[in-house]
């Protein structure tokens, strides 16, 4: 065995507090080390060439690089040794920068620590085995979860790229939040007018299969070969028959159903089509309000339906789809304003949320675009907007900025003036965050052209006084408290993760942060990938973002999918579990603990039962290896003997 060790100075980053020459000198004394040298930048091209040359010149068969974190450069050097003809797993890194030179002050102790890190890496590399990937076929279909603008964009891009797309939308229509908006900033163009054609494209695309009012139930498999169970929730209307004529909605006697599309601004019918542009434009019964369900008799819609599409007996249906890649665009939720007790949201009808206000502004909304107070249906003259309602407030668990509220508040203030020229809007704000193209100009227009009064300060309390709502807050620029008597108060409540986001993440085996937004693989360099290969992110599921950013991310995720699906075969990571059939006693405890169901029972000739790893499913966590009492299942590259070599190198003296 001939180990070559390359000790990196990393300029002064390592050499500054570690005597690298001494590390090299001591390393040369380790049996099995045939070559050891220190070098200024091992990751540089000449540094890598040095490794390749040394492999040839000294006939080295295993390489250790002592440098930065393997999380940084392991892949770089694996490629280097591979180019020089070695198996890429005959390589180890000793982290003498992040774990050593950067954190210890004493040069002698650091040098000793570096020497030991190298020693452990040498011990490990001597136990390393060559590993080889195997390849497997890729299913070229794509699952997109969420039919908001980000999901639709991803679905359209993938479908235009020639792949079949399965689009799953939780609510009865695609469109998401954007379909509810009146206008969009900073252009003030009609939201549904620009979104509508996209929705139609989704509906009409030959390669897109839309499951509306459906949810992902179970995800099995692995990159390239996922089996997805989708729950089609019962609509009690046979959508193959429903023409969307809307007669049922017209005649339905149950008029007080909660309208989730309109966020409860006004009630709807128990059988309804959520909005005129809905895709699919199909009716759906809400059984919590439908008299047929609550009282056991009614049947008006069934009688009236010209196509006999109503089916009160309908049940949820589970369908299975097979795909190779998944785009998660499951969107966001909004903070429950009752969490902000001082604002009185939920108690006072004239304190509403911005999205509700959006529906009031919208010409196709329940008030046909007339702004009225919910309490008495009178037109408000004074409207107060409260930004950061919950956002940037650690005490209620939303420490982050919700990203786009500043912009839509400016938009809503402008629209308010447009709708009611004699009105006056006030905005309480902490900071105005408007860093997009044309954004700052937009917020200035709201102030300068539309006369919106911006008050820099937080609102401490909103309370009723007669028919008015008193908004009391601080004006930090004037240094006083102010009270404004408003007719209507609009709260820009914080953006939160979508309800059920953690559960979906658990099904997908992706991680989510403390706020339940999904975590990207790298915050800068891999913004739409997740740590689970084959699963990509788009839109607000990953964090609050506005429409252009969501659309951009939808396309980005689609690009990632398309590049992945451009290959017919994928290679697996060979650092996965492997069973030694001779040693395996068939107790199958590994089957019980495998988080990926990657281990199955196998009967050998002669009847002996052993565990078997499904290579493509195994993710390489090693839970099985530490479960197995007899060491018969070993996670390659992290075998017991490999880790014991490190333990022994560090402990036995």
């Amino acid at each position: 065995m001939k180990v070559g060790v390359f000790i990196c100075h990393c300029g002064n980053n390592i050499a500054g507090t570690v005597d690298v020459a001494r590390v090299a000198e001591e390393t040369r004394k380790i049996p099995g080390v045939a070559y050891a040298i220190n070098y200024m930048y091992t990751c540089s091209e000449p540094g890598q060439d040095q490794i390749k040359d040394a492999i040839k010149k000294y006939d080295l068969d295993r390489i250790v690089v002592a440098a930065c974190s393997p999380r940084m450069h392991e892949l770089t050097f694996r490629r280097t040794v591979e180019k020089a003809g070695l198996n890429r797993y005959y390589f180890e890194m000793a982290n003498i920068r992040e774990h050593c030179s950067w954190i210890g002050e004493d040069r002698e102790l650091n040098t000793n620590k570096a020497m030991e890190a190298v020693r452990a890496a040498v011990a490990k590399v001597m136990q390393d085995k060559p590993l080889y990937s195997s390849s497997f076929a890729v299913n070229k279909r794509v699952l997109v979860i969420g039919g908001g603008v980000a999901g639709m964009q991803a679905a359209l891009d993938c479908a235009d790229g020639g792949h079949e797309v399965v689009l799953v939308e939780k609510s009865p229509s695609v469109g998401g939040m954007m379909a509810r908006l009146d206008k969009t900033f900073p252009t003030i163009d009609c939201s549904i007018c620009i979104l509508g054609p996209k929705m139609v494209d989704v509906a009409q695309h030959d390669l897109i299969k839309l499951y509306a009012y459906s949810e992902v139930e179970e995800v099995k498999g692995y990159v390239g070969n996922y089996q997805i169970k989708i729950r089609k929730k019962a609509t009690y209307v046979d959508w193959t028959k429903c023409t969307g004529c809307g007669e049922c909605m017209e005649k339905c006697p149950s008029k007080d159903a909660y309208d989730s599309f309109n966020f409860g601004v006004a009630p709807t019918k128990a059988i309804n089509i959520p909005f005129p542009q809905a895709i699919p434009k199909k009716a759906k019964i809400d059984p919590t309000y439908c008299r047929q369900f609550t009282k056991g008799k009614c049947g008006v819609c069934a009688k009236i339906c010209p196509t006999k599409a109503i089916n009160y007996e309908m049940e949820d249906e589970i369908v299975t789809e097979e795909v190779g890649a998944i785009v998660v665009a499951s969107g966001y939720g909004l903070l429950d304003i009752e969490k902000m007790g001082e604002y009185g949201g939920g108690r006072y009808p004239d304190v509403i949320t911005a999205i509700q206000y959006e529906r009031l502004l919208n010409a196709s909304g329940p008030t046909s675009g007339h702004i009225v107070r919910p309490s008495d249906h009178e037109e408000p003259k004074t409207v107060v907007f409260v930004s950061c309602c919950g956002s940037r407030d650690k005490s209620i668990g939303v420490p982050y900025c919700s990203n786009f509220c500043c912009m839509y508040i400016a938009k809503q203030a402008i629209l308010t003036k447009d709708h009611m020229p004699d009105s006056q809007s006030y905005v309480f704000y902490m900071d105005i965050r408007s860093p997009g193209k044309g954004y700052d100009e937009f917020t200035r227009r709201a102030q300068e052209e539309y006369g919106t009064k911006y008050i820099r300060g937080r609102v401490s309390r909103i309370f009723p006084k007669g028919k008015k709502m008193v908004v009391r807050g601080a004006d930090t620029l004037l240094g006083t408290t102010v009270e404004i008597e408003a007719d209507l108060v609009v709260l820009a409540n914080a953006v939160t993760a979508a309800p059920g986001a953690p559960q979906l993440a658990e099904k997908l085996h992706i991680s989510y942060d403390t706020n339940a937004f999904y975590v990207e693989s790298h915050p800068k360099l891999r913004p739409v990938e997740t740590n689970t290969s084959g699963v990509f992110l788009a839109g607000c599921a990953q964090g609050p973002k506005d429409i252009p950013a969501s659309v951009g991310q939808g396309s980005a995720a689609a690009a990632k999918v398309l590049s992945m699906l451009s290959k017919d075969f994928l290679e697996n990571d060979p650092a996965i579990a492997q069973v030694n059939q001779n040693a395996c006693v068939g107790c199958l405890k590994c089957v019980k603990t495998c988080p990926f169901q990657a281990i199955v029972e196998e009967e050998l000739r002669g009847g002996k039962v052993v565990a078997k790893v499904i290579q493509t499913v195994c993710a390489g966590c090693g839970v099985c290896t530490s479960t197995c009492p007899c060491g018969a299942i070993q996670l390659q590259h992290f075998t017991d003997n490999q880790l014991l070599a490190e333990v022994n190198a560090l402990c036995l003296s």
Binding site: K2, E25, R28, K29, I30, P31, G32, V33, A34, Y35, A36, Y58, R119, V122, A123, Q581, N582, N648, A649, L652
Partner: protein, 354 residues
Amino acid sequence: MTDKGYLPQDKWEPFIESLSNDFRVYAPCEEDGVITFQVLEKGKKVDLSRPSTSAPKGVMFPQSERLFSFDFKKAPESPDKMAVELDASTNMPETVIIGARPCDAKGFLTYDRVYLEVDPYYRERREKTTVVGFCCNGPFAGCFCTSAGGGLAEKEGSDLFVTEVDNGYFLEAITEKGKKLLGRPMVEDGASHADAASKKQEQASKALQKVIPGDPEPRISREAFESDAFWDEVSAKCLSCGVCTYLCPTCYCFNITDEARLEGGERVRSWDACMFHHFTLEASGHNPRGRKAMRLKQRVGHKFLYYVDKYGTIACSGCGRCIRHCPVSVEISGIVARLTEGAQEDQKAAEARS
């Protein structure tokens, strides 16, 4: 120098203690109800009231021993060249085993035939060790020395033989090594106790009836021995553990492993047991003695057939430990007795023919 000595009761302990000054002395000592041969140190009490749990074989054939150590050496100027330094030095002290039972002492003879010629480690220990045998007063559960060519007063294998008589201990030199001990202080002339001792020995010899036929040793029938059904039956309860072999005064199988670190290591010889699955496990995963029936058969066969073929005598001294301490009471004497029945008949048939 005489070949008979005597130690009065009150000199017994001081005598053993004085031995400790010049020898490493092993003696049966009790700890938590278990008697094992231990190096005598202050505070340890010799207990001869019953047979020890384990035989004193570890003294001569340690549970594990370093055969040699190896160190990898490198010259700094040429790190790609490596030399191996070996160190096979031994440092074995002069040793006395006190209180070996006749069966224990006789056990060493089984080793001698195998190791004395060929194994320098064993030879050095053997040469430096004096075995002081101890006459048994009576048999314990499982004992069958009389069926294995031995007896409660068997002196073969001892260098010095001790018999409890007349409020003291009669010491009988069997070899030159034993004789040397008689010259040590406190040892009185023993001639006057010789009669009492031989009477005692005779009495002891009769205290245990033979349980296996055969004189002086049992001979087992090859035909019966080759019956798979027989071994399946007698091994059904066997746990395949190492109690029988590791407590046995005649089992001598070993394993050799290199226990290495980065810079070097040791080659270690350690006890191994034919009852273990691993004993014959091949690298391919195949195991020629994969079932416990085969392993039990090997154990009995080795002691009563193969060893006999090679050395002309059985490799068992009838100490009974394997029976006494077997977790499931596998009774080798019973197994051998059943196998000899056929042998008797064979013999009778042969006689009849001739």
